[in-house]
């Protein structure tokens, strides 16, 4: 057993106390339906190729408050328009579908990585494309948005990197899990472009396992929740998952144990996160975590760490850039429910049933090594 595996098991033993789980009134279901955009225009052509939209839907509600929907979109990874037209095309499609939600969503949460290399041109493009969506929009940053100018342009466009608001009986929190990377650039005298380049490679070894919430933000989170009834629902949006899936790809935050400790008193906590570009589901203590799709491209499942509670996504077809990607609609019902529905552009059934169709079926035989070339100066 590796040191990493040993630590993971130890933490599990400490944190997964018997009988501790998110309130059962919050439940996860998986349903599929054809999105209405399939019935019209461009999407009808897509349907004839067997493409169907992908949407993640979560129903969530508290007590007597009115039911509502909200939408999740993230990881559009936009380059300047002329460099990658497919990414633009998919962002436009998602924006149109979100705007067409019926009944309409109360708000859109954008979960980070709107840009690929933090270029102001890319951030402006994302902002422009999302003007299609006229409902309330809230944003949290991803690492791809940040490390060219350390978030300056992102903040100018989208505001604070963390925030909280209450909506129909639910406290929503936006967390910043990306801006507190340990400084790997100053000592090496890197240019902003070099700093960004290292950060933008998922399997890079120079930036390391950088994701984290940070002591200051943990204190902020503690105080942001202090006046909230511990039995009422809390939904936390973060770019990275608030638990440990696979640190080499930053499918985690390094201080997730502290996050879990802060959230422990609250019994209805749902963390919805991006970054992983794939459906993931886990429960730790009273917190559930749900991983969302990207519009840009799907990541493979990591070689280890995929939670046993996750039903993996189907294996995507790399020849179809609408496959394995999409966005999410979330519905809050009157029954304290969290219902998740994943829709993949290109699929009627987004989650794998048979092993041969699963994105993880080959992983038992897969050994992977970290790359080497980025650690050799000047790379």
């Amino acid at each position: 057993m590796s040191e990493h595996e040993r630590m993971r098991r130890e933490m599990d033993a400490v944190l997964r106390t018997p009988g501790a789980h998110p309130a059962r009134s919050l439940r996860l279901t998986r349903r599929t339906f054809l999105h209405r955009s399939l019935l019209t225009g461009v999407a009808a052509g897509a349907a004839s190729y067997g493409w169907f939209p992908l949407i993640n839907t979560i129903d969530l509600a508290y007590g007597a408050e009115a039911p509502f929907k909200f939408a999740w979109l993230s990881d559009t990874h936009l380059y300047p328009k002329e460099v990658n037209t497919r990414f633009v095309e998919k962002t436009v499609r998602a924006a149109k579908e979100i705007q067409a939600m019926d009944p309409p969503a109360d708000f859109l949460i954008f979960g980070g990585d709107i840009a690929q290399l933090g270029d102001p041109v890319e951030l402006d493009l994302g902002n422009e494309l999302l003007k299609e969506v006229t409902i309330k929009k809230v944003f949290i940053p991803g690492e791809h948005d940040w490390y060219l100018d350390m978030g300056e342009k992102w903040r100018a466009l989208f505001g604070d990197a963390n925030w909280t608001f209450d909506h129909k009986g639910v406290r929503f929190v936006g967390l910043d899990t990306i801006s507190r990377a340990p400084d790997y650039w100053t000592a090496k005298g890197m240019s902003p472009q070099e700093r960004m380049a290292h950060m933008s490679v998922l399997d890079g070894t120079v930036a390391g396992a950088w994701a984290g919430v940070g002591k200051d933000q943990l204190e902020w989170l503690t105080s942001a929740l202090s006046d909230w009834d511990k039995a009422k629902p809390v939904v936390i949006f973060s770019h990275n998952p608030l638990y440990e899936v696979y640190p080499p790809w930053n499918f985690w935050v390094r201080d997730w144990r502290d996050v879990v400790a802060v959230l422990q008193p609250y019994t209805n906590v749902t963390n919805i996160h991006g970054h992983v570009h794939q459906p993931l589901y886990n429960e730790i203590g009273t917190m559930r975590s749900i991983g969302m799709l990207a519009t840009s491209w799907p990541w493979p499942y990591p070689p280890t760490g995929v939670p046993a509670l996750t039903q993996p996504m189907i294996r995507a077809d790399p020849g179809d850039h609408f496959d394995g990607v999409g966005w999410s609609g979330l519905t809050v019902t009157e029954k304290d429910r969290v219902d998740t529905e994943y829709y993949i552009w290109g699929r009627t059934e987004p989650l794998a049933v048979a092993e041969a169709d699963s994105g993880t079926s080959d992983n038992v035989n897969q050994r992977l090594s970290a790359r080497i070339a980025d650690n050799q100066w000047p790379y």
Partner: protein, 163 residues
């Protein structure tokens, strides 16, 4: 016996190494001249330096393959290839070579619609998702990419033909 044999091996290795020096002259410090490798192949016991030199050749290919795989512009230019026209690099869908499963080739490859080698699939990915320019099947760039993929999935069991 073992001790005697090993002493003999060392002696022969020393003689072979001196012989090599006599033929090709001293290699630069830290390097082993491999120009006579073909003539000498397996005919003399290998020295640690030779084995290291063989490995260095391999790891240099891995390094170049790693850079190509991660979209490094300078390496592509130096090797005369254009692997992508969209900003996408191999590593964006395959971090650490995940989900390539090079050890499962050759096999029937659905996307190509026929029995395919790893090199066929590399070119398919360059042309389709990356919208780049396919490379010669036995080119330096192809060998470097292949070296990187096999190296980074070292330890996975061979499973040719698996879907």
């Amino acid at each position: 016996m073992d001790i005697r044999r090993s002493t003999l091996h060392q002696l022969l290795a020393g003689v072979a190494f001196l012989g090599l020096l006599a033929i090709v002259g001293p290699a630069p410090a830290g390097e082993v001249d491999l120009s006579d490798a073909v003539q000498l192949a397996h005919k003399k016991p290998h020295t640690a330096e030779q084995l290291k030199a063989f490995n260095d050749v391999f790891m240099e290919e891995v390094r170049k393959g790693d850079l190509l795989f991660h979209g490094d512009g300078a390496t592509q230019e130096a090797m005369g290839v254009k692997l992508s026209a969209t900003g996408m690099a191999c590593a964006m869908c395959h971090p650490m070579s995940a989900d390539i499963h090079p050890y499962e080739f050759p096999k029937f490859q659905e996307q190509i619609g026929k029995f395919a080698t790893l090199r066929d699939m590399i070119n398919w990915c360059i042309e389709k998702p990356n919208q780049g320019e396919k490379i010669e099947s036995d080119s330096e760039a192809m060998k470097a990419l292949e070296a990187y993929m096999y190296w980074s999935t070292k330890g996975s069991a061979l499973d040719p033909g698996r879907h």
